[in-house]
Symmetry: C5
Subunit: 122 residues, 5 copies
């Protein structure tokens, strides 16, 4: 599974029936989330920071949407700023209330902590 | 799921039976769609801009076809210039009227807006 | 789906039973097919150009085999030089006469034309 | 399958029901595991080296989490510092005690040795 | 499918039950196999060249294990030095005697020859 940070939300009114009622979140892989947003390095909680809300036709959102971002369906009540575990591919559908939905990415856990061995010596 | 922009169409007369009647669109990931086409940065709607229509043998379409473009089956009535949500892999078939078609990418939603947190501070 | 150009063929006598009788073609993604072979830029048809036929032990074919090439089973009668639509992953098996074959890439259409919007302004 | 080295652990209290009781390990592909951690080149066993344990909000773990790391469910009793064989995609679920869990990566073997041919001449 | 060259073997005593008795081979994509091992360019057969056999804890095998190598289950009697056809993802399991094994890569053919069109002009 991928570890990512929730950095935004997607609204799509016209969509596949099986996606109705699903919360769509934008995720960025953990390792790149700090580079792209310096505020993430300061230890502040994210949910209250201002957001950028742009229409989709020719707007500047392409700049804000990171190259490695993906959109996933939330299945655990995740919010913007949280670090999450993401199942990709056919595994994503195993987490859905509607397993026949056309979904290839799902948030399946909220990460409390990660321990990496030996990094103090790096 | 991937967020992409519809940048073109594909015509294939000879194809798998299960693909007959499916609309095939060319998509580019959102983050790279502006770099590749400066006109996309000006806020103008795309559907009316001129198109390049080239035959497939030795023509210049290789230059126009972006390296990261994919071809997807449309399931929601999307058109050129729209920003869409794309399901990849086995998820794509869940959105089709013919779920046994040999399809690995399907447009499953039209994006109204995306909100990215904290980008004002970037 | 991927759009690719057929650039060669593969012969494998010893193989999985379910692959017997399947035509195996070498494909390269469309965008890179011209860079790698200058002759493709001149508009000439490809099927008659000379081919390189090399044995597999220590021969020079590694140089000729592009890094991004894949081998796919043909299901629509495609030939060398044609631009094709390729289904990857589990979708590939949906196009086969033997859906239980160990195949992860299949040619599912022959592309007549591709229209890309707005490239005249690029 | 991928060959990776176990470099850490993940704790997620809130998660998909089918993930409860599964051990989640952080893996790095073998070839890059030494570059990222010089101590790995000295032949010492890893399980006893100190670990870095950081909270997930704005902490420095993004630096410690390698770009190519993945999180996998352990099915063979692997531990930090071991070299393991990892099944990705739908194959991962074949190794689980709960095959319906939303899992796209599973450790399916502990590697005793790898023999690479001809490297003495490299 | 991928075309690769068999460059080594993997021994794993502790592993998923369904992997017992499966031969695990290390593969490298064809295009990069020559760069990494100059001896491959000289036309000599590979099976008799010396091998490097290293333990997994802190040894130098990370250097010998190419970044793009994968481990696949052999289903056709392939050996070190041979050029093979590899099925990835769910397709791999279609080739196995035990289709429920947690396997995402399988050797499904031994390549006799590859013909690439037009390379003489490259």
């Amino acid at each position: 599974m991928m570890v990512g940070r929730v950095i935004g939300t997607v609204v799509a009114t016209r969509k596949s029936d099986a996606l109705v009622g699903q919360k769509l979140l934008v995720l960025q892989p953990l390792h790149s989330s700090r580079e792209q947003d310096p505020s993430l390095a300061q230890g502040a909680a994210l949910p209250d920071i201002p957001v950028q809300d742009v229409p989709m036709q020719g707007g500047p959102v392409e700049n804000a949407f990171p190259p490695d971002a993906v959109v996933a369906v939330d299945t655990v009540g995740a919010g913007v700023g949280e670090t999450v575990l993401v199942a990709l591919g056919s595994a994503a559908r195993k987490a859905l209330s509607r397993p026949e939905a056309p979904v290839d990415a799902a948030i399946v856990g909220i990460v409390d902590s990660i321990r990496i061995a030996g990094r103090e010596q790096g």
